[in-house]
């Protein structure tokens, strides 16, 4: 009996070790580690912080070594050029870059690609677009169109005779121009329509948004529809409207971005009527996954990936697809 017990014990031990070895073998099937880089524009704007954080989490989940670098401002070309060279020297075989210039970085990007490095532009395109392998970004025209559609339906519901103020970005910046174009299409008007009483550049800045809006209101106190290129400009415009004692219930203020500050402080109480949310999370997540997959032998990323846009409002307009403020709070970027 004792001999039998010992025999069974030995057999059980052998089986256990065999099982352990099989389990170890199963665990060893992890993806090959690859190194990629992410270069953003700056870290003051929470948009870029969110992009970096999601990229880091996605890299961790996908066994990817992620190098990160950032500039000091939206126009800091020099830092991005240095980061590109540094990352290639450190072995990055794929790079995600949000270019601070559509053209100034082209020589460095071309040099990287000649060395076999895959490059995806995120958020902002380069010119020509095929200077990079792929481009992952918000469809800015679609974002503008969504807020334009919302504004026109709301204007009809409020029985307003549209007097539109457009607070744009700056001349020559493609994302701002696409948003502007989209708004006009969504609203159902063309450039030069008499309903547009003012068009100013704000550089997407809150203070400029406020001062330019105050100037517009001084000249056109009857403005009842305000388009803003981004939420800092919208918050500035809102402050000017409040200072001027405008009837916010009969003024439609729309914007584009999806930052947490504006969603919680202005969209939730209804001060900004609607905003088109873009998703830097998707640019980062899809970018890291696409590079990791390609570097492991999968398909090379190519063309344009629309990273999504959703209209966020607490006061939906009939016939215009939108998500509620809770969705906005859950998916906004920043704090």
């Amino acid at each position: 009996m004792t001999v039998m017990k010992k025999y069974l014990y030995r057999r059980a031990r052998v089986l256990l070790l065999a099982g352990f070895a099989i389990a170890l073998g199963a665990c060893s099937g992890e993806d090959e580690s690859v190194t990629i880089g992410l270069i953003t524009k700056q870290e003051v704007n929470p948009y870029w912080v969110t992009m970096r954080e999601v990229a880091q989490q996605t890299a961790k989940d996908n066994n990817v070594t992620l190098l990160t670098a950032t500039g000091t401002s939206d126009v800091d070309v020099y830092s991005q050029q240095a980061a590109l060279k540094d990352m290639i020297a450190k072995g990055a075989r794929g790079i995600l870059i949000a270019p601070t210039s559509s053209t100034a970085l082209l020589p460095d990007i071309e040099a990287a690609r000649r060395q076999g490095v895959l490059v995806i532009a995120v958020d902002t395109p380069v010119e020509p677009v095929d200077a990079v392998d792929a481009y992952f970004a918000t469809d800015n025209e679609a974002a503008g169109r969504l807020v334009g559609q919302y504004a026109t339906v709301k204007a009809q519901l409020l029985d307003l005779k549209p007097k539109i103020a457009m607070l744009d970005l700056a001349p020559g910046i493609s994302s701002g121009e696409a948003r502007h174009r989209g708004f006009l299409k969504g609203f159902g008007i063309t450039p030069g329509d008499p309903a547009i009483v003012a068009m100013v550049d704000t550089e997407g800045d809150r203070e400029l948004g406020e001062s330019r809006m105050a100037e517009i209101l001084a000249e056109h106190p009857d403005v009842n529809i305000v388009y803003t290129v981004n939420e800092p400009a919208a918050l500035g415009a809102l402050a000017a409207l409040q200072d001027a004692g405008a009837d916010l219930d009969r003024t439609i203020l729309v914007s584009i971005d999806g930052g947490c500050r504006a969603i919680k402080q202005a969209v939730r109480p209804g001060d900004i009527d609607a905003t088109a949310m873009q998703f830097p999370q998707n640019m980062a997540r899809e970018g890291v996954r696409a590079l990791a997959s390609a570097l492991r032998g999968g398909d090379r990323p190519s063309g344009y990936l629309n990273t999504g846009v959703e209209l966020i409002t607490g006061d939906p307009a009939p016939g215009v697809k939108s998500r509620d403020v809770a969705f906005g709070v859950r998916n906004c970027w920043g704090n």
Binding site: F279, N282, L305, A326
Partner: protein
């Protein structure tokens, strides 16, 4: 196996006599298992809302299925115990709950919300029978004099299970869910694949619970032991027709049942929607939101110890009134402070909940004498509040905002406070302390 009486001996003075240790441990595992299952369900409301893209009202049906089953099975469970004994009751409960856990398997393949509700109904039905049987079973496992201590010891593992349940959700489900933002750009086939992957995440903890329940079932089924203090089996004293009328005419009892209904309602609402509040109002990630629910349960656990001490200092109804007022304050803060302060208030509301179930239980049964045995059933069935009021909370969220939903538990807690004030202002005639321990039948 026959359940036989044991001779009184030195062993009977112990809380758990040596021969009863293994059976007692098995029942303790039951207490832990139903605590885990109940609070894992709190996480499911938000998870299903995301996976099936539903309204808050629709996702709240999870709690209706769960607590509805608890309510509906309370009386049949009593019948099983009376007719066939506690061990049979425990085995039927474990078996049914395990079937419910296993039903998650086909549900996750069919990808139908209704199938998950059915699985939850079976799971909760089993746990209802299990709970109804396990409480008196534990009491009968030793001398009558140590019954209350034994039950309290076993019940101490219920909140531990509750924390394990939330921990499973926070660790295994919430962090791995498909991010909502990424669904925005998914094609239909990609969405379907993500739905399947997310439902598989839900499946694993429930399968784990089902396997644990089956193992406990086998261990109890084949463990031979003799109860030293067995109940009479095969009938038992039925309540006379006058008892129900007497109880109904007793305002302390009648209002007590109502207060218990609103207490369970408030507790279920607060815990069910903690995760949704953290996400929808404050913008926390799903995994962080899970930790906030975990924090609520820990507050509940520690606060309960504090309340036990305070109940020795203050009159129960006075303490109940104060804590109900605190709970209302927390709900008001949650409604109007749409930030971290509001979220802290939601978590802090668990402190107010911690004393309510046993305190209302004791207050309502105070002075009832033999009628307390029948009256306790009414108090346990007040768990129906957990099935109904989360639906109302969900509707308010859908029609107004996630934060305003907290008006529902706020009103519930105010009504509990009103009961405490009623008790303070209306002295009872013929005070009799029943000495009955409150069961662990609260929604934890």
């Amino acid at each position: 196996m026959a359940e036989m009486a044991d001779d009184d001996g030195p062993e009977s003075a112990r809380i758990v006599a040596v021969p009863m240790r293994i059976p007692f441990i098995l029942l303790v595992l039951c207490f832990t298992a139903w605590g885990a299952a109940a609070n894992l369900t709190d996480i499911l409301v938000g998870v299903f809302r995301g996976i099936f893209d539903m309204s808050n009202f629709q996702s709240s049906l999870v709690q209706s299925a769960y607590y509805g089953a608890y309510f509906l099975l309370a009386l049949p469970a009593g019948f099983i115990n009376n007719r066939y004994g506690y061990k049979t009751g425990v085995l039927v409960g474990l078996g049914l709950a395990a079937v419910g856990g296993m039903l998650f398997l086909p549900a996750s393949q069919i990808l139908e919300y209704d199938m998950f509700l059915l699985a939850l109904f079976f799971l909760a039905a089993g746990l209802s029978i299990l709970e109804t049987s396990a409480n008196p079973f534990v009491i009968a496992m030793g001398a009558e004099s140590t019954g209350t201590q034994r039950l309290n010891l076993a019940q101490a593992f219920n909140p531990i299970g509750a924390n394990i349940g939330v921990l499973m959700g926070a660790v295994f489900i919430l962090p791995a869910l498909t991010p909502e933002a990424s669904k925005v750009i998914m094609s239909e086939p990609e969405l379907l694949a993500s739905q399947q992957a997310d439902l598989n995440l839900v499946l694993k903890p429930y399968l784990g619970i089902a396997v644990a329940l089956i193992l406990i079932w086998i261990a109890i089924m084949f463990r031979r032991f003799e109860l030293p203090n067995p109940p009479a089996v095969g009938g038992g004293p039925a309540a006379s027709g006058n008892v129900a009328l007497r109880l109904w005419n007793n305002r302390h009892y009648r209002y007590g049942v109502m207060a218990q209904f609103f207490n369970v309602a408030a507790q279920t609402c607060i815990w069910t929607f903690t995760i949704l509040y953290a996400q929808d109002v404050v913008g926390e990630s799903p995994e962080n939101a899970g930790w906030w629910l975990q924090a609520s349960l820990i507050i509940f656990l520690f606060s309960r110890f504090l309340m036990v001490w305070l109940l020795g200092v203050f009159r129960p109804s006075r303490l109940l009134a104060v804590m109900a007022a605190f709970g209302v304050l927390c709900c008001l803060t949650a409604m109007f402070s749409l930030n971290l302060v509001g979220l802290v208030a939601v978590a802090a509301a668990s402190a107010s909940l911690s004393l309510m179930f046993p305190t209302i239980y004791g207050m309502a049964l105070q002075g009832l004498g033999d009628d307390a045995k029948f009256g306790s059933a009414g108090l346990v069935m007040a768990i129906l509040g957990g099935a109904i009021m989360p639906l109302v909370h969900g509707v308010v969220m859908d029609l107004s905002s996630p934060a305003m939903g907290y008006v529902v538990p706020g009103i519930c807690l105010a009504l509990v406070g009103a009961y405490a004030l009623f008790d303070l202002r209306n002295e009872r005639s013929g005070f009799v302390d029943t000495g009955m321990p409150a069961p662990g039948g609260e929604a934890s």
